[in-house]
Point group: C2
C-alpha cells in the first residue's frame, strides 16, 4: 500500500525507501579522477569495504570498482563518490535485509587556485563541537549533519573549519584530516571517539614512515596544535594543503617537513 | 557532467543529489493515519516546521499538509512520514540553496497485539551509548545511525531498547520517549544534549498538567528510573505503551497513573 509524493508529485522509484536517506544507514567515499583513472582506487575500495563492515554491510567491492571505472573513463579531472546503504525490507530502524544498495556518481572537480598548495590556506576553529560516538568513529557514514552545521558562516577567506571535541582537542576539518609538526615530529589526532579517517591520512603516515619522520597518532590539546611549527590538511581531492593560519595562529606554509611530504605523496594535484 | 549509476544502472533522477541522502541534512516526522485522517496533524506540522527551522530549513507547512491529507484519504489505518531536506545546488557540505525538498509517504501500520497496551511491554537497556550534540538535540533529523545500531540484537520479547547518555542516564527508547512515575510525580528525561522530543511526549505532559499530576523534565539517573513506581513509552503510532519490565526491573503495567493518562490521551489506538 506504499504511496509517496516527492515535491507534490507521485513517486514510485525504489529510492524512496533508501535507508541511506531515511536513517543515514550507510557509508560513502569520495575520490579524485585524473586522466580517466580513479586515484588510489584500491585503497579507496578497501576503506569503503572496511567502513561498510563496521555497519555490518557488505560493500560489493567488485561492483563498486566496475561502476567507478566506467564513470571515470575519458574524464580528465573529476570527483567520484560511492554511496552504499543497507537495503530496505520493512519500515523501522531494525536492519531486515542483507542486501546493499549502491550509488556511484561522477561530478566536476571544483576549481582550485594553485596558491592553496604553494602558499597554504587559512582555517578557523569551528564553534561546532563534534560529538563522540566510538561505534561510528573513523568511518565515513552518511550522518553528516554536524559537518553541514560546521560549514555555515565561515569567516571571509577561510578554506576549512577545524572541529574540536568537547574537551577542546582538535579532531580534524569538516572535509579533511589535520596534521601538524612539532619539534620534528608529525602528529595527527586520534579518531577513536569521533572524526573520519581519510585515505590520504593513511598515505601521509606511510610517506612519513618511509622518509624516517617520527609520527604519532594522539589526542592532543588545541594549544599543542596552535603552537606547532607547521600544519597541514589532507583529503583525497586536494592531497595536502599547507595551513598558513588558523584564527590568530600563523605558520610558514608550506614548512620544510610539509614540503618534503608533499614531494613524496605522488598526488597528481600536489606540486612536487 | 554529473553521471550516476544506481545499483549498476544509469540513473538520472534528481534524488541522486538529495542532501538528505548524502548528509542527513534534513528532518522527518511519523504520524498515525486513522479513518482517513492524520492524527494530531496540526501538532505534527508545527513540530516538523520547528525542527526544520533548527536546521535553517523552511518546512513549507501548507504543502506538507496537502500531501498528507491527499495520501491519508480513504486509509483506515496507516503510517504517514514526512521527510524534508535541503535542496542541493553544488557538491559539498555547505548549504547553497534556500529550497527544501519534500517526500511524503504512506505505509501500512505494523500489526500490534492489544496486550502491548493492556499488559505492557518489555524493554532493555541498550549497550549503545547515545552521543551528545546540543545543536541537534530534540529534533528528528535524518542522522539515525545510532538508532539503527541500537536496533540490532534485541533480547527475545523486547519491544524497545532504552538508550542512555554517557553518564548512564536514560534518554529514551530508539523510537519512543520514556516516562516514569515516582511518588506520584511524572518524570521524563531532558533532551537538551541528545534524544528526540516526540509530539506524544508533549501531549502526555499536557494531559498530566490537566489532570493535576505534578511533572518534571529532568536529567536523572538510571536508578531513579529503574526504581520508579510506574513507567511507560510514548510515540505517535502507539500513543502509550506501559512498561512492564526493563532488564531485571519490573513494574505493574499499566500502573494507576499510567492508566489515568492513557484514559485522557484520546489516542485512537490506546484503550480508554
Amino acid at each position: 500500500m506504499t504511496a509517496a509524493l516527492f515535491n507534490g508529485k507521485p513517486e514510485a522509484g525504489a529510492w524512496i525507501r533508501a535507508r541511506g536517506l531515511h536513517y543515514g544507514d550507510g557509508v560513502f567515499r569520495t575520490a579524485l579522477v585524473f586522466d580517466g583513472n580513479v586515484v588510489d582506487l584500491d585503497r579507496q575500495l578497501a576503506k569503503l569495504a572496511s567502513d561498510a563492515r563496521q555497519l555490518h554491510l557488505s560493500a560489493g567491492v567488485a561492483a563498486c570498482r566496475r561502476d567507478a571505472t566506467k564513470l571515470a573513463r575519458g574524464q580528465r579531472r573529476a570527483v567520484i563518490k560511492w554511496l552504499l546503504w543497507r537495503g530496505a525490507k520493512a519500515r523501522g530502524y531494525r536492519p531486515a535485509s542483507a542486501t546493499t544498495e549502491r550509488l556511484v556518481m561522477i561530478d566536476a572537480l571544483p576549481a582550485r587556485t594553485p596558491a592553496s598548495w604553494t602558499r597554504g590556506v587559512a582555517a578557523f576553529r569551528s564553534p561546532v563541537v563534534i560529538s563522540e560516538q566510538p561505534l561510528l568513529a573513523g568511518i565515513k557514514h552518511l550522518n553528516r549533519a554536524e559537518q553541514v552545521l560546521a560549514s555555515i558562516d565561515w569567516p571571509r577567506g577561510a578554506m576549512e573549519a577545524i572541529l574540536c571535541d568537547r574537551a577542546g582537542r582538535p579532531i580534524g576539518g569538516t572535509r579533511s584530516n589535520l596534521f601538524w609538526i612539532r619539534r620534528g615530529r608529525l602528529y595527527t589526532p586520534q579518531l577513536s571517539a569521533c572524526g573520519v579517517a581519510g585515505v590520504m591520512r593513511e598515505k601521509v603516515l606511510e610517506v612519513a614512515q618511509s622518509l624516517g619522520i617520527d609520527w604519532r597518532i594522539d589526542t592532543l590539546s588545541w594549544r599543542e596544535f596552535a603552537t606547532s611549527d607547521e600544519a597541514f590538511l589532507t583529503n583525497s581531492l586536494i592531497g595536502i594543503w599547507p595551513l598558513r593560519s588558523c584564527d590568530r595562529h600563523e605558520w610558514r606554509a608550506p614548512g620544510a617537513f610539509t614540503r618534503e611530504i608533499m614531494r613524496h605523496l605522488s598526488h597528481p594535484l600536489v606540486p612536487a
